[in-house]
């Protein structure tokens, strides 16, 4: 339960962080909040000789309002998300996910970048960010890459991020009129519980109340956040009424690839996916209708 034989470099700039990462690859990890990484190091799930802390890189902090939406620095803590007036005003669904994460002590330290880069299959932010059409900025000496979040994950704890790259920011576009999203999540207890199954849903309605865009993303029931196109197809071109939502929820259930573990069997998780999908879609539809007005 001790972290032994490790070197810590505090990189003052992105350049130095990238260089240090390149120098020590693959025996290195980026340290942001560290709430997952330090646990993994203590329990031996991760064993590396080097940590590169990016916490002193001021450019990675802060939430910026741009003409296209928000640019959230990678080091933004979960608490900072929850306290952001911009997010409170226009990105309420993000609060639903952020507010259910872990406990306040963790939220005060854990970062949005870490929650994404950790690529833990039950991380709460990626699915809701995906429904909000978020993208990520990756920086390296070779230049900056900008990819949609759904292209970022490749498997459990695996992403397209190269060893010499740093995730610098998450961009979330301004939600268009008629758009609503929601996150429905099931954990085994009220406080400080990992998601057993969760669904993020986003819907955009036209003036007639017909869904023109739909997105359903499953959490904790697949190796990575799972976009369910079949669920979207049940909704696009129709009014998201109870029947359509129910069909989409069944599609979500069918798309889930859950495992059985101590928090629940695969079958239970499938049941939950259907219920959570229904609830998330109903809330998203309600918000979408509200945002038309």
């Amino acid at each position: 339960m001790y972290i032994d034989d490790i070197e810590l470099e505090e990189a003052p700039t992105l350049e130095e962080a990238a260089d240090a990462l390149a120098r020590h690859a693959p025996d290195v990890r980026v340290l942001a909040g560290g709430t997952d990484l330090l646990v993994d190091l203590k329990t031996g799930r991760v064993a590396v000789g080097h940590l590169v802390s990016i916490r002193r890189i001021e450019a990675l902090r802060g939430i910026e309002e741009t003409s296209e939406g928000l640019r959230i620095g990678a080091l933004t803590t979960i608490t900072a998300l929850l306290r952001s007036p911009a997010i409170q005003a226009r990105y309420a669904p993000l609060l639903e996910a952020a507010g259910r994460m872990a406990a306040p002590q963790i939220r005060n330290v854990a970062t949005i970048g870490g929650n994404i880069c950790g690529a833990v299959p039950c991380a709460d932010l990626p699915p809701i960010l995906m429904t909000l059409a978020a993208s990520v900025e990756l920086w390296s000496r070779a230049g900056q890459r900008h990819l949609p979040l759904e292209a970022f994950f490749t498997g459990p704890r695996q992403t397209v991020r190269r060893h010499d790259e740093v995730l610098t920011a998450v961009r979330v576009p301004e939600p268009p009129p008629g758009f609503g999203a929601a996150y429905a999540r099931f954990g085994l207890r009220e406080g400080n519980a990992i998601a057993v199954a969760a669904v993020a849903a986003g819907l955009r309605l036209d003036g007639a109340g017909t869904a023109v865009e739909a997105r359903v993303v499953l959490n904790a029931v697949a190796p990575l956040p799972k976009v369910v196109d079949a669920a979207a197809r049940e909704l696009v071109g129709r009014a998201p009424d109870e029947a359509a939502i129910a069909r989409a929820a069944v599609a979500a259930r069918q798309a889930a690839q859950p495992i059985s573990d101590l928090r629940g069997s695969a079958g239970f998780r499938r049941d939950l996916v259907e219920v959570m999908a229904r609830r998330a879609l109903a809330a998203a539809a309600r918000r979408a209708r509200e945002s038309q007005a």
Partner: protein, 963 residues
């Protein structure tokens, strides 16, 4: 890589050398010696290590110290300024927010940050803010009250002492006018509260002795195996490693709890019987090095087939754990009282059901810890986190072949036990052996995972119950057949197996009773005694079955309890002697207060209300070992005698030479339950002085005489008698001096409120301390002693009759209200209404604190908790994110009430509360879930998944019925 950093802690800059991987928690505790910040889990699950960094609460176990330069760090030691508690700390002290105190520094630190940001938080905001701070004692009720009522709270109630949103428990702040007693029946704050809320209280792991080294134990990686060879050479070669011991270095003597079944070696000598079974121990310059060394010990196991289910383990041909227990049958109980066949034949209705319990672990917030050191005269000094200092002393003597008199046990503050610290641990033994080898103090602390592997949690029971009643629901006959999953060693298990039957007939009149209990060994950590020892799962099953039978007959569940309820002064069918009993009053009060009649059977789907009852012993009638206090090797095994050989509780009171204070010495184990406080109160009553004049010394066996410890809910009754008598003995010595000063007969002298006066003439008095000084002037030390032996002759003459005997029994009834999400199966426990007969309470707030804690612990074990094993016997969730306990957000609102009762065998009429308060809870929750869903879940824990499956099965069978 060690670097010098400057850390700003509590306003001071400290230069400190830190390693790159070193956490703030370790630096605070080990380098700055600020031990108020606690290590509870070390991975961010429990919140005990919370500190403020620039005003925000964070887990110091998940912060690297080297990256905190320039930050303002505040620990619990930095909250109170100039010795003055903050308003929030005062509220924690005054509102019963503190029991064991191990979560308290993190809790008060987190709440301080909340009130700084949000002076008027709503109840939900408080719960959210504290959702990362686990508490196992208080049920969070006192903590919520403290935040809402502190003088800096500006919320709903307007701050100050106005009642918060949670319903206040009834309480006595001061004795009513004309009360017979001035110190008992009063809710004084805990005597240790201020130390605990400031981080001053020292727990074992907080103690640092000069020249101390650190030890760790290597546990087996296989569930069942023979040790072929252990190679420690690589570990010994590691820089900083000082010693390694294995089974070859430990005494041949086996140890345990039940004298007939001492079956554990300090370290495995030939076989390992569960994953985590202790194999070797290392001492090194620091814990980090000791832990590293464990990985360098190679053990060659011949893996043996393992067995994990007691029903499989008892079958012919199953893998055998111990030669001495054929078919792995560790304990067999076959009790038959009356004639059950006749009873069933005469019954109007008979119902038979099977129930399954779960593997519950106590999870005290403080991990087990021990420090051993040897004095030059050969005395072993052992600091240990235990509930049973005397039994530790006895077992150390037994195992190390030392006289008891050469062992000094010091019990520092203990961060909760619940039965998990009711026996001598491998830490105690290994620290002693390593310390003897090295001639240096050795400290050993379990990690959270090691606690789970050490085990001693609640036995999982597989139960087949059959109940017969007459037309009116009166019980005619009852049979229970239980398989107890014992794990790999006996521990308390013999007693557990008996308790699982013996306490069934104390609650209801059962004329014919048969109990068949089998405790079976399996390749899992040994199970032991946990709050309600052996009884909660059978009580859950019985309460469920009684409710089913009530439904079958159309009788209200509370009414069927009333019809069968135990009466005062009854000898039960199994010859237990029930004295005071206000069980019926608890039923009536719970019915009334909960609004039962308007709710039961009348709530919409998804809403449920349920009832359960329970009770417990007020202290075991007999000592765990037989005979007198004497090295067990020097005497033959003694026959059982139906009397206490020696007093189970003993106290000495010494009055200071100026008469202004009294030191109360009793070896009772304060583990958070509040025993120090109630013992001070009862001693003060005996002395006739205010409780504030008494200081208790309960932690050191060199100072305080023997008390058997904090188990079987015995301390209030037994320790209470001893301290009250010691106080009265002091007064008896003062009488002649007082009589001379007052000019009255000695028999007329009354001591009260630090005055002495002739009976009926309070105006004509002398100061208590003046009398004490006169005594000292003539005689030297003013000392009184008191002791308590349970009554002789308790229990019947059949085998096992001793288990379940007690001077007195408690009774209680809980009503649970909850909501179930019928789509997900999620249960939200909303409210508990509990009434208890605990005799006459000594400290009502402490009673409510026990009830609130028991309700949350009991509800948590009913719906959440389960230690899970894989097919190789490895624990899947030896941590606090996999083993889920209720957080403050999960805890229900609780109303705790006490019914009028007086127990003639108890001190000032008192009985127990700590364990009995758990017993009604499980059944009440299960019943409420059944009433919300229409399905009974008979398999603990009642998870959402099981509820959904049962709802689906019911739907399917309804459909099948339609076809």
């Amino acid at each position: 890589m060690i670097e010098l950093r400057t850390l700003n802690v509590n306003g001071h800059d400290y230069p400190v050398a830190v390693e790159a991987g070193e956490t703030l928690l370790d630096v605070l505790r080990e380098k700055l010696r600020l031990t108020g910040t606690k290590k509870g889990c070390n991975v961010g699950d429990c919140g005990a290590c919370t500190v403020l960094v620039d005003g925000e609460p964070m887990n110091s176990c998940l912060l690297l110290a080297s990256s905190l330069e320039g930050k303002a760090i505040t620990t619990v030691e930095g909250l109170a300024r100039d010795g003055e508690l903050t308003p929030l700390q005062k509220a924690f002290v005054g509102e019963g927010a503190i029991q064991c105190g191990y979560c308290t520094p993190g809790m008060v630190t987190t709440a301080t940050a909340l009130l700084a940001h949000t002076p008027a938080p709503s109840t939900d905001e408080i719960k959210e803010a504290l959702s990362g701070n686990m508490c196992r004692c208080t049920g969070y009720a006192g903590i919520l009250r403290a935040v809402q009522r502190c003088d800096c709270y500006r919320g709903e109630a307007g701050g100050g002492k106005a009642a918060g949103p949670a319903e206040a428990a009834p309480e006595t702040a001061a004795p009513p006018a004309g009360a017979r007693h001035e110190n008992v029946g009063v809710s004084i704050p805990r005597v240790d509260a201020a130390d605990k809320v400031t981080g001053r209280a020292l727990y074992t792991a907080d103690i640092q002795l000069p020249n101390m080294v650190h030890g760790k134990i290597l546990g087996s990686s296989v569930a069942h195996g023979r040790i072929r060879r252990i190679d420690v050479s690589r570990a010994l070669a590691l820089e900083g490693v000082l010693a390694v011991i294995t089974g070859a270095d430990v005494p041949e003597t086996t140890y345990g709890v039940s004298p007939a079944r001492y079956d554990e070696h300090v370290l495995a000598r030939d076989k390992v019987r569960h994953v985590g079974d202790e194999v070797a121990a290392v001492a090194a310059v620091d814990e980090r090095t000791a832990e590293k060394a464990l990985a360098l010990i190679s053990v060659d196991y011949e893996e043996l087939p393992a067995v994990f289910d007691p029903r499989a383990a008892i079958a012919d041909g199953a893998p055998q754990l111990h030669d001495r227990y054929p078919n792995n049958l560790n304990t067999l109980v076959d009790h038959h009282f009356g004639d059950v066949e006749k009873g069933f034949a005469e019954s109007f209705h008979v119902r038979e059901e099977s129930f399954t319990g779960n593997h519950i672990y106590q999870c005290p917030m403080e991990p087990h810890a021990a420090i051993a050191t040897w004095d030059h005269d050969g005395t072993l000094v052992l600091y240990t986190s235990t509930q049973v200092p005397h039994y530790v002393q006895y077992m150390m003597a037994h195992t190390l072949h030392l006289p008891l008199g050469k062992i000094r046990v010091i019990r520092p503050a203990v961060g909760g036990g619940f039965g998990g610290k009711a026996e001598t641990t491998p830490l105690d033994f290994c620290a002693a052996l390593l310390s003897r080898k090295l001639g240096r103090p050795v400290k050993m602390v379990y990690s959270r995972a090691e606690m789970f592997h050490h085990g001693r949690g609640r036995h999982k029971q597989h139960m087949r119950f059959k109940l017969g009643v007459d037309r009116a629901g009166r019980i005619q006959a009852f049979v229970n057949e239980n398989y107890l999953d014992g794990g790999a060693y006996t521990s308390f298990g013999v007693a557990t197996a008996y308790y699982a039957g013996s306490l069934m007939p104390t609650l209801y009149h059962i004329p014919n009773y048969r109990y068949l209990g089998r405790r079976v060994m399996t390749n899992k950590p040994a199970c032991g005694a946990m709050r309600g020892h052996g009884v909660p799962q059978p009580r859950f099953a019985f309460e469920c079955l009684l409710n089913m039978v009530a439904d079958d007959l159309g009788i209200d569940p509370i009414e069927i309890r009333r019809r069968n309820a135990m009466d005062p002064d009854t000898i039960t069918v199994n010859e237990l002697d029930v004295g005071s009993c206000e069980f019926k009053a608890t039923l009536a009060a719970a019915r009334e207060k909960s609004g039962w009649d308007g709710k039961y059977g009348k709530l919409p789907p998804g809403k449920g209300i349920g009832v359960g009852s329970g009770g417990f012993v007020s202290g075991a009638g007999y000592c765990i070992y037989r005979g007198q206090v004497q090295l067990s090797h020097e005497k033959p095994r003694e026959p059982f005698q139906k009397k206490a050989i020696f007093p189970h509780a003993n106290a000495v009171v010494r009055v200071t030479e100026d008469g202004m204070a009294a030191i109360l010495m009793i070896g009772a184990a304060e583990i958070g339950q509040g025993s120090d406080t109630v013992l001070v109160q009862m001693c003060a009553e005996g002395l006739g002085v205010p409780a504030a004049r008494i200081r208790i010394r309960s932690e050191d066996s060199d100072i305080s005489p023997l008390d058997l410890g904090a188990y079987s809910s015995r301390v209030t009754l037994m320790g209470g008698h001893a301290v009250a008598r010691a106080g009265e003995a002091v007064v008896a010595k003062m009488r002649p001096y007082a009589a001379a000063l007052l000019g009255c007969a000695e028999t007329e002298v009354v001591a009260r409120q630090a005055r002495m006066f002739p009976r009926g003439n309070e105006a004509h008095s002398v100061a208590w301390e003046e009398v004490a000084r006169r005594y000292f002037n003539d005689n030297g030390p003013l000392v009184g002693t008191g002791c308590y032996k349970p009554p002789e002759g308790l229990g019947g003459d059949y085998k096992g009759a001793a288990v379940g005997t007690s001077p007195a029994f408690s009774f209680g009834t809980s009503v649970c209200e909850l909501a179930v999400d019928l789509e997900t199966g999620q249960v939200r426990i909303e409210r508990f209404t509990d009434f208890h007969d605990c005799g006459t309470p000594i400290n009502p707030r402490a009673v409510h604190g026990q009830v609130e804690g028991a309700i949350v612990m009991g509800a948590s074990e009913t719906v959440l908790e389960d230690v899970q094993f894989d097919e190789k016997g490895r624990i899947l969730n030896p941590d606090l994110h996999g083993y889920l306990m209720m957080t403050i957000k999960d805890a229900p609102e609780i109303f705790s009430g006490i019914v009028d009762s007086y127990e003639p065998r108890g001190p000032y009429g008192a009985k127990e509360i700590g364990e009995g308060s758990t017993l009604p809870v499980l059944g009440a929750v299960a019943h409420a879930i059944a009433s919300a869903t229409g399905v009974w879940i008979k398999d603990l824990p009642i998870t959402p998944e099981k509820i959904l499956a049962a709802l689906r099965a019911r739907k399917a069978s309804a459909r099948a019925g339609e076809r």
